[in-house]
C-alpha cells in the first residue's frame, strides 16, 4: 500500500446560505488548494460527493466544475455520496499509482427543502416511501430500540448533546453550540419520542475540500502530514426490519479492517447525526470512556448533508496536524439509521 496523507482541509458551514453552491464552494476549494502548496494543475485527480435531490435538479454536481479549476481539463470523478466516499475513491486512485495527489470536495445545501421529508425518497420506493416517514422518525425508531435493548436512558442521550454543544463553542463552523445543562435538555418536549430537537442534526448548508498526497511529496509539502493508516467502509440492507438497529454491524467490520485498535487512540470524530447513534458507534468501534469523542462538536453542532462525513475526517486531520493528538479514528455515515459506514484511521507524522 502507498502511504497517503491529508495535507490541507477547508470548510464552510452556515444554518442558511444566501449564496448558491458554486459561490459557497469556490473559496473553500481555493483555500484547500492554497494550503496544500500545490498548484491546481499539479493535483493529479479530483473527486467530489453531492446529491441532486438536495437541489431538486438533475446533474446538480456538473455546475460545481465551474468552481474548482477544471481547465485545462482534469482527471475527475463524482460519487452521489457523502464526500468521505469521494475521499475513498481518491485514495484508491492513488493506490493504483495513476496519480500522486488528489483534491476531494463535497457540497450541499440542506435548507432549501424539507430535508427530513426529502430523505424519505432514500427508502424502499415500493413499501416505505409511500408512507413518507421522515428521517427523524426513523432515527427515533432506532433510538427507542437501542435504549430498550441496552438499558441506556434519555439522560445518556442528553449527556451526549451537552458535551457536543459545549465542545462546539470553539468551532467556528458550528451552527449550534453553547453550555447547556442536562436537566434543561431533558425538560424540552419530544419532537419524535424518545428524541428531542437537540438530539437531531441541525439543518446546515456547507462545503468542504481536502487535498491528499502520497508518500514523500506529502512530507515535502507539509510540516506534519496526517497519514491515512486504515480505510474501509461497509453497507447493510436498507430495510429497518432486515438488520439489528441497536448495533452497527457494518461499522464493526469496517473498524476491524481499518485496524482501529492497532494503536492507541487519542480521540474520535464520529458522524452521528442523532445523539443515540454516537453511543451505537462507540460500541461498534470499541471506544472506551478514556477516548475524547467529537472535539469539534460533531454532527449535532453542524450537519451539512453530503459534507458532514468528510468534515469528520478533515476535523480529525486538522487537530492532529495542529499537534493536538497523534492518532485518531474518523467515521462517516449515510443512509437511514447508520446504513452505510466508513472508518478512517489517521496518524500524525
Amino acid at each position: 500500500m502507498r502511504d497517503v496523507a491529508i495535507v490541507s482541509f477547508a470548510q464552510s458551514a452556515k444554518a442558511r446560505e444566501t449564496r448558491n453552491e458554486v459561490e459557497i464552494l469556490m473559496p473553500v476549494v481555493q483555500e484547500a488548494v492554497k494550503n496544500s502548496k500545490l498548484a491546481r494543475q499539479e493535483i493529479g485527480f479530483t473527486c467530489s460527493g453531492s446529491s441532486d435531490y438536495l437541489q431538486g435538479q438533475s446533474f446538480a454536481f456538473v455546475g460545481a466544475l465551474d468552481a474548482v479549476g477544471a481547465w485545462p481539463p482534469i482527471k475527475e470523478s463524482h460519487v452521489e455520496m457523502d464526500g468521505a466516499w469521494a475521499l475513498y475513491e481518491a485514495w484508491i486512485k492513488i493506490q493504483t499509482g495513476d496519480v500522486d495527489s488528489a483534491l476531494v470536495y463535497s457540497f450541499g445545501k440542506s435548507s432549501p427543502g424539507d430535508l427530513p421529508e426529502i430523505l424519505a425518497l432514500q427508502l424502499d420506493p415500493y413499501t416505505m416511501t409511500p408512507l413518507w416517514p421522515d428521517a427523524h422518525s426513523l432515527a427515533a425508531l432506532q433510538a427507542r430500540a437501542f435504549l430498550e435493548a441496552t438499558g441506556k436512558t434519555e439522560r445518556d442521550l442528553a449527556r451526549v448533546v451537552a458535551r457536543s454543544l459545549c465542545s462546539a463553542v470553539t468551532n467556528p463552523h458550528a451552527v449550534v453550540s453553547g453550555a447547556v445543562e442536562v436537566e434543561k435538555l431533558l425538560a424540552e418536549p419530544y419532537v419524535c419520542s424518545p428524541l428531542r430537537a437537540h438530539d437531531l442534526p441541525p439543518i446546515t448548508d456547507g462545503a468542504s475540500a481536502m487535498v491528499v498526497v502520497a508518500g514523500d511529496l506529502a512530507r515535502k509539502l507539509c510540516a506534519r502530514p496526517v497519514w491515512i493508516r486504515g480505510f474501509d467502509h461497509r453497507i447493510e440492507p436498507l430495510g429497518l426490519g432486515m438488520r439489528d438497529l441497536t448495533r452497527s454491524a457494518s461499522t464493526e467490520i469496517a473498524a476491524r479492517n481499518a485496524g482501529v485498535h492497532k494503536g492507541v487512540l487519542d480521540f474520535a470524530e464520529l458522524h452521528a447525526p442523532y445523539s443515540h447513534q454516537e453511543l451505537i458507534l462507540r460500541a461498534a468501534l470499541g471506544l472506551g470512556d478514556e477516548i475524547a469523542i467529537n472535539p469539534s462538536g460533531g454532527a449535532l453542532a453542524s450537519h451539512p448533508l453530503m459534507v458532514a462525513g468528510l468534515v469528520r475526517i478533515g476535523e480529525a486531520a486538522m487537530r492532529i496536524m495542529a499537534g493536538r493528538g497523534d492518532r485518531a479514528v474518523a467515521h462517516a455515515t449515510q443512509g437511514p439509521c447508520l446504513q452505510q459506514n466508513l472508518v478512517c484511521v489517521l496518524e500524525g507524522e
Binding site: 444566501t18 449564496r19 448558491n20 431538486g56 435538479q57 432549501p112 424539507d114 421529508e117 424502499d124 420506493p125 415500493y126 413499501t127 416505505m128 409511500p130 408512507l131 413518507w132 416517514p133 421522515d134 422518525s137 426513523l138 427515533a140 425508531l141 432506532q142 433510538a143 427507542r144 430500540a145 430498550e148 419530544y190 419532537v191 419524535c192 419520542s193 424518545p194 428524541l195 440492507p237 430495510g239 429497518l240 426490519g241 432486515m242 438497529l245
Partner: protein
C-alpha cells in the same frame, strides 16, 4: 417604488416545484404482496435459510440469493418492536392527527414491517403491544391498502 439597497443586494428567491407521479413496475414478488393487500391478506416469503421476510423480497438481504416462491401467509395481528410518536404529522404522512410510526412484527414473520399505528394518545403506545391492520375502504394493491395499524382491543 425603487428597491432599497438591502433589497437590491439580497439574492432573488422563488419556490422550485418538483412534481412527478412515478409509475413503478413491482416485479413478481412484491406483485404478489400487493395483490394480497388488495384482498386484505398479508404475505411474506421464506428464504432458503428459513427466515420469513415481510415485505417479501426477491432475494435474501443477507446473502443476495434468490428467494423463489415460498410465500407464507402472516398476520394479520402483530407485535410492535419499536415506535416513535409523531405529534405534528406532515401532509404526506398516513394520518393527519398525532400517530406513531412503528416496526410491527406480524405473527409468523421474522422481520418487522414499517407502518403507522393509530393509537390516538402516546400513552397507549409501548413496545410489545399487539396491533392489527385497519384496511382502507377501497383497496388498490399498494402499501397504503393498510391505512394503518391500531391497537388490538
Amino acid at each position: 417604488m425603487a428597491p432599497t439597497e438591502a433589497e437590491h443586494e439580497a439574492p432573488l428567491t422563488a419556490v422550485h416545484h418538483l412534481e412527478y407521479a412515478y409509475r413503478r413496475s413491482v416485479g413478481p414478488v412484491l406483485g404478489r404482496f400487493f395483490a394480497g393487500l388488495r384482498e386484505r391478506t398479508i404475505c411474506g416469503i421464506r428464504t432458503r435459510a428459513g427466515r420469513v421476510l415481510v415485505p417479501p423480497a426477491e432475494y435474501d438481504p443477507e446473502t443476495g440469493d434468490a428467494t423463489g416462491d415460498d410465500f407464507v401467509s402472516v398476520g394479520p395481528g402483530g407485535t410492535v418492536t419499536s415506535w416513535t410518536w409523531v405529534s405534528k404529522p406532515r401532509p404526506k404522512q398516513p394520518l393527519q392527527h398525532p400517530f406513531a410510526y412503528a416496526l410491527v412484527k406480524l405473527d409468523g414473520a421474522d422481520t418487522p414491517l414499517l407502518h403507522a399505528v393509530d393509537a390516538l394518545f402516546e400513552s397507549r403506545m409501548r413496545t410489545g403491544m399487539r396491533v392489527r391492520p385497519r384496511w382502507r375502504s377501497e383497496t388498490r394493491g399498494e402499501i397504503g391498502d393498510i391505512a394503518c395499524f391500531e391497537p388490538e382491543a
